[in-house]
Amino acid sequence: MTPSVERAFRADLEKCVPNLLAFARSLSGNPDRANDLVQETLIRAWINRDRFVEGTNLKAWLFTVLRNFYISELRKRKYEVADQDGVIAASIGAEGNQSAHMDLVDFAKAFQSLPLEQREALTLVGAEGFAYEEAALMCGCAVGTLKSRVNRARNRLAQLLGHDVNEPASV
C-alpha cells in the first residue's frame, strides 16, 4: 500500500469503529470483551491490510474478522459471557415517554436472551442492513440457514415480548 492509500485505509477503519463496537457488544453483551474484540480486529485488519481488496465492503470484512475471532475464542474458552448486567439495556438512552423506554429495555433484554447465532443473524440483517447473502457469507452458513435464523429470532422475540405470532388460519 502506498502511504496515501494506507492513510485512507486507516481513516476508513476508524469510521467503522462505532459499528464494530456495537456489533461486538451485541454479540458478547460485555463492554470490556467488546473493546478487546474491536482492538484485536483492528490489529488483524491492519496487519492484513494488503489482503483487503479495494472497492469491496470494508465493514463486512471487519465484521467477519471480528465475528470469527469471537467464535474461535468462545470455542477455546468453552463459555459465553452473557449480558448479566443488562449492558445493552443500560445503553438505551432516556426516552421522553417512559412506556416507550421500558419497551426498549424489555426488547434489549429479550434480544440478549437469544442464542448467539440468532443474535448475530438478526443484527447483521435487521440492524446493520447487510443482505442475506452477505450475512450468510460472514456467518459461514447457507443463505437459507441465515433466513431461518432471522425468522426464528423474530419469532422468539415476538413471543418473549408478548405478541401474538399466530396468523389467522386461512380457510
Binding site: S26, W46, N48, F52, E117, S148, N151, H163, V165
Partner: protein
Amino acid sequence: MSNKQEFVGKDATGDASPLGEANSAPVPAEVQELIGRQLRRVYSGLVEARIPDDFTTLLDRLSAASAGTKGNTEQDT
C-alpha cells in the same frame, strides 16, 4: 491471517444440521415491523455510544509502526 481462512465454517454454535434449521411460522408483518424498529433503535444506541480513545491511539500506533518499518526498509535499500 487470511480473511477467508478465518471463516469458521458451518455454524457459530457447531449446529450445522439442516434439520435443525427448520423454518418456524412467519411472524405477522406488523409485529416484524415493530421488532425491526425496536432493534434499530436499540442498536443505534450502541453505535452512538461513546467510543473509548484507545482505538484512535491504537490506530495511531499501528500507522506509526508501519511508517517506521517502511522508513527502515527504504534506508536499508
